[in-house]
């Protein structure tokens, strides 16, 4: 059987269909009116804008369905400007689409390379102008220009320094030291164990030493949540149990996943929830991860009391707080 298939011939462009307005005077008239209405609407919008700005009181509220109580002044300004701009825009587009010439024009692409004539002309012009400017003669200007342009090029390279320096030990260290008192945040008041009832929580920070200032970066690492449970509710090993005091347990508030502040404590279930990605930590089991993307429990701060009965840190955090990073050992 012979294969008679022949390639399809080029169908070419579809036949141009004229618009209604091109041959029907009624449709033309209608399109014209529509454009005029849109432009007139724009004018009304501008008048509404001006009226709202001058006459509507700034504290007047009106009730609108869906929107609720709305400031009439702002609403008038916004609606006026919207109508004014959209009226012009829609009108212009509608005008172009229905009434302006719709003959189809084909613009051929031209070759990217300039013609040989243009190129030689360009080279000639450059040579002539540089000779006129005396670039070859004024070597002082030429050299200083060269140096300054070269130096300017150095500035962005210098700024690359801001990619460093490496954080060194900063990610591993917090302001918590052995014996640092726990103070309320805000308020900076030291806390006694008896200040917390069972079921109570407190947001705490390390007490400032003399002359020390607290920066946001410090708070980002030092924030701790204090929770009091009944001691028998804990399921901790001996070491972690010794890090608590009379049922009070302290965890870093910085999530081990992405560093959000974990402070949604559910008193009934004893779960701590991170609001960002729903990582859930079980407080009774040393903040073991029971749901969500966090890979590690929240670091626990070992606490005890000092001679005056105020809560203090037994030792600094035994691991880096917050999310994973490249050099992290655990």
């Amino acid at each position: 059987m012979a294969n008679d298939l022949t390639p399809l011939s080029d169908p070419g462009l579809p036949k141009h269909v004229h618009r209604k307005a091109d041959h029907d005077p009624k449709a033309e008239k209608r399109a014209e009116q529509q454009v005029a209405i849109l432009f007139a609407l724009s004018a009304v919008g501008t008048i509404l804008f001006i009226y709202s700005y001058i006459f509507i009181k700034t504290d007047l509220f009106v009730f609108l369905p869906l929107l609720g109580n709305t400031n009439a002044h702002q609403l008038g300004l916004g609606m006026g400007l919207t109508i004014a701009l959209l009226g012009i825009g829609f009108g212009a587009v509608h005008w172009a689409k229905t009434l302006m010439s719709d003959t189809e024009v084909i613009a051929e692409r031209h070759e990217f390379r300039s013609s040989d004539e243009d190129r030689s002309e360009f080279v000639k012009t450059v040579k002539e102008r540089s000779a006129e400017a005396g670039l070859g003669r004024r070597s002082l200007i030429k050299r200083t220009l060269g140096i300054s342009v070269g130096l300017v090029g150095l500035s962005p390279i210098l700024l690359l320094r801001d990619l460093g320096p490496l954080p060194k030990k900063q990610l591993e260290e917090t302001s918590w030291r052995t014996g640092t008192r726990l103070v309320t945040d805000p308020g900076d008041r030291p806390i006694k164990a008896s200040d917390l009832e069972v079921g109570a929580v407190a947001q705490v920070l390390p007490e400032l030493r003399m002359g020390q200032k607290r920066t946001l970066e410090d708070i980002g690492k030092d924030a701790v949540l204090l929770i009091r449970l009944r001691p028998e509710e804990f399921q901790l090993d001996a070491e972690r149990k010794s890090w608590t005091h009379e049922g009070i347990i302290a965890f870093s508030k910085i999530c081990s996943h992405m560093g959000c502040a974990v402070a949604l404590y559910e008193q009934q279930t004893k779960h701590l929830l991170c609001p960002c990605h729903q990582s859930t930590f079980d407080v009774t089991r040393a903040a073991k991860v029971i749901f969500g993307p966090a890979a590690r429990p929240l670091p626990q701060l070992a606490i005890t009391v000092d001679a005056q009965g105020y809560l203090i840190a037994q030792q600094p955090f035994n691991e880096s707080v917050g999310p994973s990073y490249w050099e992290r050992s655990s």
């Binding site: 618009r19 209604k20 307005a21 509220f61 609108l64 869906l66 929107l67 609720g68 109580n69 709305t70 400031n71 702002q74 609403l75 587009v93 689409k97 229905t98 719709d102 309320t184 945040d185 805000p186 308020g187 008041r189 806390i191 006694k192 200040d195 917390l196 009832e197 069972v198 079921g199 109570a200 929580v201 407190a202 947001q203 929770i227 502040a261 402070a263 949604l264 404590y265 559910e266 008193q267 009934q268 279930t269 779960h271 929830l273 609001p275 729903q278 859930t280 749901f291």
Partner: protein, 264 residues
């Protein structure tokens, strides 16, 4: 003197004297006995309040919380929770619960204020606990500081109740409710008792003045007008983003399609 002695013989002298003597005796007696009588009255009123509360408790609460409020498999013990807890739970309509869902929600209270007070008095009589308050006792307008309250709110409340107090989700269907439109005394009682999932905020870590500041901030947030109209729940980028990505982008796509379509 002569005039007085002549009055002695007047025919009304005896009755007037007797009246004066009797009434002075009566006033002295009533003045001497008034104080103890009042406290006796108050004590008996209190015990009737407790008895009334007990009756209400047995009828309405004991099927879950036990005949002596000792708790059961489905409801906690109420011994030692104090009047504040009862006033909060019953006064906001959370108790009695409508169904055994994850969490009791705020609804129209089932008990009147007097009945709530009676229930609170009964539960408070079981064991000491935080006392309930009235809205008048909480001088948040006088003693609170809005700016300080805002800082405390952001640090202690906003993670669950949202930065504008609109509430938010917890785990497994539990949630932190909105605190808009809540009575000041109920906000205060919630902080000192820690109802349901909420932890307790002790008076030592957040002082009484600080609690009043938090209430003042909440009331200021409540009064904040929505200049732009629809507040979209005041939950930030979630609803705002949804609106922009669906309506805003939809509008732009519609305009683009219209721009490129050929007029007929």
């Amino acid at each position: 003197m002569k005039k007085l002695s002549s009055l002695r013989k007047h025919k009304f002298a005896l009755p007037v004297l007797i009246l004066v003597a009797l009434s002075s005796l009566g006033f002295t007696f009533s003045a001497a006995t008034a104080a103890p009588a009042k406290s006796q009255l108050a004590a008996s009123a209190k015990s009737t309040l407790i008895a009334e509360g007990k009756e209400l408790f047995l009828k309405g609460c004991s099927s879950c919380h036990g005949l002596n409020a000792e708790g059961g498999s489905i409801a906690p013990s109420l011994i030692g929770v104090g009047a504040a807890s009862v006033d909060f739970q019953v006064g906001t309509g959370r108790m009695p619960m409508a169904d055994m869902s994850q969490q009791a929600m705020r609804k129209k209270p089932l008990y009147t204020e007097e009945q709530t007070a009676a229930l609170a008095a009964y539960v408070a009589s079981l064991a000491p606990g935080p006392a309930s308050l009235t809205n008048e006792e909480i001088e948040w307008e006088r003693d609170g500081n809005t700016a300080e309250g805002g800082e405390l709110f952001r640090n202690n409340c906003a993670m669950c109740h949202n930065f504008a107090g609109q509430g938010g989700a917890l785990t497994q269907g539990k949630y932190a409710p909105t605190i808009m439109g809540v009575e000041p005394k109920h906000i205060y009682e919630a902080m000192i008792t820690g109802p349901q999932s909420m932890p307790v905020f002790s008076d030592k870590t957040i002082t009484v003045e600080e609690k009043l500041s938090i209430i003042k901030w909440i009331k200021a947030a409540e009064a904040e007008p929505n200049l732009g109209g629809a507040s979209l729940g005041r939950v930030g980028p979630v609803t705002e983003g949804l609106l922009v990505w669906t309506f805003g982008l939809g509008l732009l796509i519609g305009i683009a399609v219209w721009l490129a379509s050929k007029a007929r």
